[in-house]
């Protein structure tokens, strides 16, 4: 497969977190010799126990943190504002701007994504219709329920119509109905042509939608597998134990 057909590539990436104290610096290796390829058009789940490096890998792809060594390619390019324009990101449980309404948040995110006002308005209508946000789009985000906030969060990631969508624990804190809705949204987005990369703790949920999964252990992929119904949990436990 050509490079241009890859949505995300990590080549021998290492990331060490350094924390400075008064007289010493502690180092924690988050990723080591981390290599992974994710194809365009697929739903790929990054699985692993806490501290396995899932969020670190995502943050590296988004240029929120920088690698110590190795190479990262997002849609065939080095992570930069230019390529980030084509990526949407849903972080895990962020504290959204509580005093802004969803409409104001979308407007701000649209401006920061470089959209003109007509495109922003059209995009706002598109995401509102897709995620049925009409009833609370003008409500302050701080007054919205967890389920509503998760939909707002997904909507802000879609406002610039990205090719690649990265979701960090998208089911976190949702009730069973919310989880089911989120799963349907993800599937629809993928059917519509978007590449989906998601991290998750929920093996059963991942199994329902992922085409492939990467199971991380100790900062590198222990296994990259095609997901087969009924086998993911077994594969996961084998990989992490």
């Amino acid at each position: 497969m050509k490079n241009s057909e890859k949505a995300l590539e990590f080549r021998k990436v290492a990331k060490i977190y350094r924390k400075n104290h008064f007289f010493k610096t502690t180092r924690t290796t988050a990723l080591q010799d981390f290599s992974l390829e994710i194809n365009k058009g697929e739903i790929f789940c990054i699985l692993g126990l806490n501290g396995a490096g899932k969020t670190t890998a995502v943050k590296l792809a988004l240029n929120l943190i920088f690698p110590d060594s190795g190479e990262i390619r997002v849609l065939g390019e080095k992570p930069s504002p230019g390529v980030i324009r084509r990526v949407g990101y849903v972080p895990e449980n962020p504290y959204l701007f509580p005093y802004l309404s969803a409409r104001e948040l979308f407007d701000l995110m649209g401006i920061l994504s470089g959209l003109d006002s007509a495109t922003r308005r059209a995009a706002e209508e598109r995401v509102c219709a897709f995620l049925t946000l009409e009833t609370f789009i003008d409500k302050k985000i701080g007054e919205c329920s967890k389920g509503m906030q998760q939909r707002i969060l997904l909507a802000q990631a879609l406002i610039h119509d990205p090719e690649l969508l990265i979701l960090d624990e998208p089911y976190s804190g949702l009730d069973p109905v919310g989880i089911s809705q989120m799963r349907q949204y993800i599937q629809k987005l993928n059917t519509g042509g978007k590449t989906i990369i998601m991290t998750s703790h929920l093996i059963a949920e991942s199994e329902k939608i992922a085409g492939r999964a990467g199971i991380l252990k100790g900062g590198h992929p222990a296994k990259v597998i095609d997901v087969k119904k009924g086998f993911l949990e077994k594969e996961f436990l084998e990989a992490v134990q």
Binding site: K59, L64, E92, Y95, Y99, L105, L112
Partner: protein, 253 residues
């Protein structure tokens, strides 16, 4: 520039709606009314007391709210992941932080204007004669807030805890107000201490140069012309923000 303008606009909107902003306005109003009531105890200094306590309260509370907003933008939003949303957009990090800075300064201007109107009303009820120094003083309070906001953003970006960001910024505020007093002690200091004070005068914001609320220095500034002090405040704030943008650009979240 469009990104800067809109980040500033939404920062202002967000701050103006926040609970801490309304709370600070209520507190200042309470201080004004207290000054109004207590000043009746001494009729001679009645107007002077309301004016001095009132202006002091405007400065102190606008400092506290600016401090709170600056630490929130540069430290808390990194901790609670709010910052991931704007930073995963094709916007330069420097533009984003500069927009946030401008938004906080505009919020401070709004707060100072609201409180200034209330204080002016109270003083006019008391029959006070208000000169131009009184009105210019509000602008100089805003300049001070602009400088401490820039410093707090820089400190917060380098801090490892919210508490240390608050404490160091508070110390800078106090040091900035004390630099003028230290000047009088230079003759009694060792050469090393004199050098240290000179360095401090460059590094810390020298608020003595902007102390319009002080009657004597206010008149001295009026004689010398306001421009050098205004230029100093802008130069200082923008230099610190340039440094903050450089730190923010390299910061990992």
């Amino acid at each position: 520039m469009k990104a800067v303008r809109n980040v500033a606009k939404y920062t202002l909107l967000e701050n103006a709606r926040s609970r801490s902003f309304s709370l600070s306005l209520v507190f200042i109003a309470f201080v004004f009314v207290s000054a109004f009531v207590f000043s009746r105890l001494s009729e001679v200094v009645e107007i002077r007391a309301i004016r001095d306590i009132g202006m002091g309260a405007v400065q102190f509370f606008s400092f506290l709210t600016a401090l709170f907003f600056a630490v929130k933008v540069a430290f808390v939003e990194g901790q609670n992941k709010t910052i991931y949303l704007p930073l995963t957009r094709p916007v330069k990090r420097g533009e984003y932080i500069f927009g946030r800075f401008l938004g906080i300064v505009l919020s401070a201007a709004l707060e100072i204007a609201a409180m200034g109107m209330l204080l002016t009303l109270l003083l006019l009820i008391k029959g006070a004669q208000l000169d131009s120094f009184y009105f210019v003083s509000y602008f100089f309070i805003l300049l001070k807030i602009m400088m401490i906001t820039a410093v707090t953003i820089l400190i917060s970006l380098a801090s490892t805890s919210q508490a240390s960001a608050f404490i160091f910024s508070f110390l800078v505020w106090i040091t900035g107000h004390s630099l003028g007093e230290v000047e009088f002690l230079l003759d009694e200091m060792s050469p090393a201490m004199v050098t240290l004070v000179r360095i401090f005068k460059w590094v810390f914001p020298n608020y003595t140069l902007l102390n319009m609320t002080d009657y004597v220095s206010g008149r001295f500034m009026a004689q010398a012309g306001y421009l050098p002090a205004v230029l100093y405040a802008f130069f200082y704030a923008f230099a610190v923000m340039w440094l903050a943008a450089a730190v923010f650009d390299k910061k990992e979240f």
